[in-house]
Amino acid sequence: MRYLPLTPQDRADMLGVIGAESIDELFVDVPAVARRAGVVDLPLHAGELEVEREMLALSRRNRSASEGPFFVGAGAYRHHVPATVDHIIQRSEFLTSYTPYQPEIAQGTLQVLFEFQTQVAALTGMEVANASLYDGSTATAEAVMMATRVTRRGKAVLSGGVHPHYVGTVETLAHAAGVATERLAAAIDAEDAVIAAIDADTACVVVQTPNVFGTATDVTKIAQAAQAAGALLIVVTTEAVSFGLLKSPGEMGADIVVAEGQSIGNGLNYGGPYVGLFACKEKYVRQAPGRLCGETVDADGKRGFVLTLSTREQHIRRDKATSNICTNSGLCALAFSIHMSLLGEKGLRRLALVNHQKAVALRDALAAVPGVEILTPRFFNEFAIRLPVNAAEVVETLAANGVIAGVPFSRLEPGAGLDDVLLVAATETTPDLDITIFAKTLTKVLAR
């Protein structure tokens, strides 16, 4: 077995040193009822060639985004990731290291995290950021829990523009923790409606921009209303590239910003692993979840970095911790940080403009399709359209014709009465020709 270095002779010699007759003696504490004599009913070991062949066969039964016209977004976006990113994250020292608990031999990871935190703080317009969470949805749930600790209140208000799967993730955790949630009905352009729902029990309002329908909103007024009522404003963003074009949540008064960072440095990967971005005002940082990297000095006075404020965390505080999180998305954060370093401010702004330009071109093409109505008034790289028929059925028909058209809103929230709404996205990876093909194919399908 190629991953196991011990030879039969090694094993015999080692048992001799231990003073055991057989390996079974080392499992003597296992109750007799649970001792299994033979191997379990699964295939036996296989060579690298055989495994690769089997994996390749499975992978070929999936239609990848690069194979043809592709317009799916709704929380995960296809972007070009420079080859440098994947090369660096496969370096042994980054790939096969653990959480940097011994800082003297983990300065590589720690400096990256410090740079990552600084990049995320700058992008979101916030004072501080943590070293990443699992993804955008779990980061949102963590932010809501944090707001209840900061305000000592027990209710979260979520706008009708928040991604329904994010809402579901928040509700699952909030229910268990005894936090009430009030989610407004799905609405394309009504983030401001949360203002009316704020009351004396409200710990936080959660709004998304661009929201799940693609609508970009200035949340300044919401921030003012929330803070006047003693509540925090949590701003969610599922498309991190939008930070390069749209006013940052921090500039608009957000208290906590959470985002899905997948768009920068990370592939689609069928839903994970992704990287949750988490940033907040500095005064709240001791209530923040997750790891934080901070600057310090070594015994010689040289600058170095360590994980810090860990008295918030589970391995120290146990049942009093701010979160149960331990493992985060370290390698995805590294990929994010490398891609961000390559882009720089100049590249990010340009990338964001190209995305917007592509989406505008897509809107113009789809607006010309008979029966299609554009629903989203202001967008970054994604918007909603209304079809004269059921959107899920159109998506299936288009898929059969080689076009992966987008996400029917009914897939995210079946009961919303928006079965005719389709979410479509374009990025720098979308060729103009594919936009033309999409519009033509949709025209044909709707004409049937």
Partner: protein
């Protein structure tokens, strides 16, 4: 004097102590002194070539006009920056990484290769299911392997890490109690030796945590458990093999008592590597257990993540599993995404999508490579390696539980350091100088000055011997009064010992564009 091939002398005339003569640049040979990206004066560069695009006039006031503050590096600068940083990290690929409870085993490169196939890496979680049948089938096959290896009827794949799996398990337990009208059960029992995530997760779910005592031989105290069980208890959380590296001999009785009290048995599966292929948790009476794919099934730790923490569930808990899950139909595979029909009792969802697919691909490739026979060998070699270390160090160091075998990790206390002036921390830092990553220290909390050594099965006997020789030499030095070797350690790492107190007292969590005095001077 030795000569190299071009005839020049290679040995210096006089021995030079590099600690007396620090270098002029801060670099030390191959080790570069690398600034932060924010200090490289790269504010107007980019390493990505993109076409020009018109301004977004249609967005009006929404457009970001103020500077963001992000430096950009050309490709060669970026590569050099990150390669220089990488060389300041310890890694499994460099040497043994014996962090107990973390299972730092070799990460096969085949898994990295297949995870990058476009059919896995470049597919979207919300594209039509008819276009990703291979991906859903892979999830179904992974689920089959996990269920078969654990002897459990169901698995929830979506949790993103071990602690997220614990949350998933407890939420299923909570939902089951609520469905049965037992919502008043609000207590979770866990041993003092538990991972911090156990009490933190229980508290996150609104439960009160009560600790279970431990016997002198490192196991759950049955009498104490029995006295604390009752109508108020929702679940127990027990790690098995436990955090002392021992198999809970009475686990079947623990399960029986728990069930008799109407509570569920959550097993922390962080240490599944010790028993995979040899013991099925389902045979022990477990109701829910998370499996860290980044431990037992070798997906890389990546400097702190990502992980993946699927949770196997008993028949009693299966109906409450979170969405989405996979079902096999005549016409193919389907992801059930909404809590309706057969999923009507699902407790909710753990995250936006279906889980850590990139980790599923790697773990499944690892399972296929090892097979049922290889996985059993994994457990046996992991346990053999740990016992070998324990046997060869027990005359110099003090094993916390000397009687009987350990499982996959060997636990020592600091009794053997008494009177030497050297602490567990000092000893760990001195290991760094000898080329090894320290073991897990001061955990579990029940053992004084704990040193928890988990070698894993992917270490050769030669590497184990090298490690043992180094530890024996260090132990000898500690007992021989060489306190300086330990107190100032590490001497040979990229940095000396770091001031963690200062970092916490004056948190500086990001680079700031203004010139500030060095931290030490404040």
């Amino acid at each position: 004097m030795s000569m190299n091939t071009v005839g020049r002398p290679t040995r210096p005339e006089v021995a030079v102590n590099d600690y007396i003569h620090p270098t002029l640049t801060g670099a030390r040979g191959l080790l570069q002194d690398e600034a932060l990206i924010f200090e490289l004066d790269c504010w107007d560069k980019t390493g990505v070539d993109l076409p020009d695009a018109p301004p977004a006039d249609d967005l009006g006031d929404l457009v970001r006009t103020a500077p963001i503050g992000l430096p950009g590096l050309s490709e060669p600068e970026a590569v050099r920056h990150y390669v220089r940083l990488s060389q300041k990290n310890h890694a499994i690929d460099l040497a043994l990484y014996p962090l107990g409870s973390c299972t730092m085993k070799h990460n096969p490169r085949l898994n990295e290769k297949v995870a990058r196939l476009p059919g896995f890496a470049d597919i979207h979680p919300l594209q039509p299911q008819s276009t990703v049948q291979g991906a859903i089938e892979l999830m179904d096959r992974l689920a089959h392997w996990l269920k078969t290896l654990t002897g459990m009827p169901a698995v929830a794949l979506s949790p993103k890490a071990g602690a997220h799996g614990e949350l998933c398990g407890l939420l299923a337990i909570r939902a089951a109690h609520e469905a049965a009208g037992n919502g008043h059960r609000k207590t979770v029992l866990a041993p003092t030796s538990a991972h911090g995530t156990n009490p933190a997760t229980a508290a996150f779910c609104g439960y009160t945590v009560v600790e279970i005592a431990q016997t002198d031989d490192g196991r759950v105290d049955l009498a104490d458990l029995e006295s604390k069980l009752g109508d108020h208890v929702a679940a127990i959380m027990v790690t098995n093999p436990n955090t002392c590296g021992l198999f809970e001999r009475d686990v079947v009785e623990i399960a029986r008592l728990t069930h008799a009290a109407g509570a569920y048995f959550y097993c922390d599966g962080a240490n599944f590597n010790a028993i995979v292929g040899r013991v099925r948790p389902g045979d022990l009476g477990v109701d829910a257990m998370h499996i860290n794919l980044h431990k037992t099934f070798s997906t890389p730790h990546g400097g702190g993540g990502p992980g993946a923490g699927p949770v196997v569930l008993s028949a009693a808990l299966a109906p409450f599993a979170p969405t989405p899950w996979v079902v096999s139909r005549d016409f193919g595979f389907k992801l059930v995404e909404e809590a309706e029909g057969p999923a009507a009792q699902a407790f909710g969802r753990m995250s936006a999508f279906h889980g850590q697919m990139g980790m599923f691909v790697r773990a499944y490739a690892y399972m296929l490579s090892h097979g049922a026979d290889g996985l059993r060998q994994v457990a046996e070699d992991a346990v053999l390696n740990a016992n070998y270390i324990k046997a060869r160090l027990s005359d110099l160091m003090s094993p916390a539980f000397p009687n009987g075998p350990c499982m996959h990790e060997a636990l020592f206390d600091d009794a053997w350091l008494e009177g030497t002036g050297v602490t567990t921390l000092d000893f760990a830092k001195a290991m760094i100088d000898e080329g090894f990553h320290p073991m897990t220290m001061y955990f579990p909390l029940v053992v004084h000055g704990a040193m928890l050594i988990e070698p894993t099965e992917t270490e050769s006997k030669q590497e184990l011997d090298r490690f043992i020789t180094a530890l024996r030499a260090l132990a000898g030095a500690a007992k021989g009064g060489e306190v300086d070797r330990f107190k100032g350690a590490p001497y040979h790492a990229p940095l000396k010992r770091l001031d963690e107190t200062l970092a916490a007292r004056k948190p500086r969590l990001r680079w700031k564009p203004v010139a500030v005095a060095p931290l030490a001077a404040e």
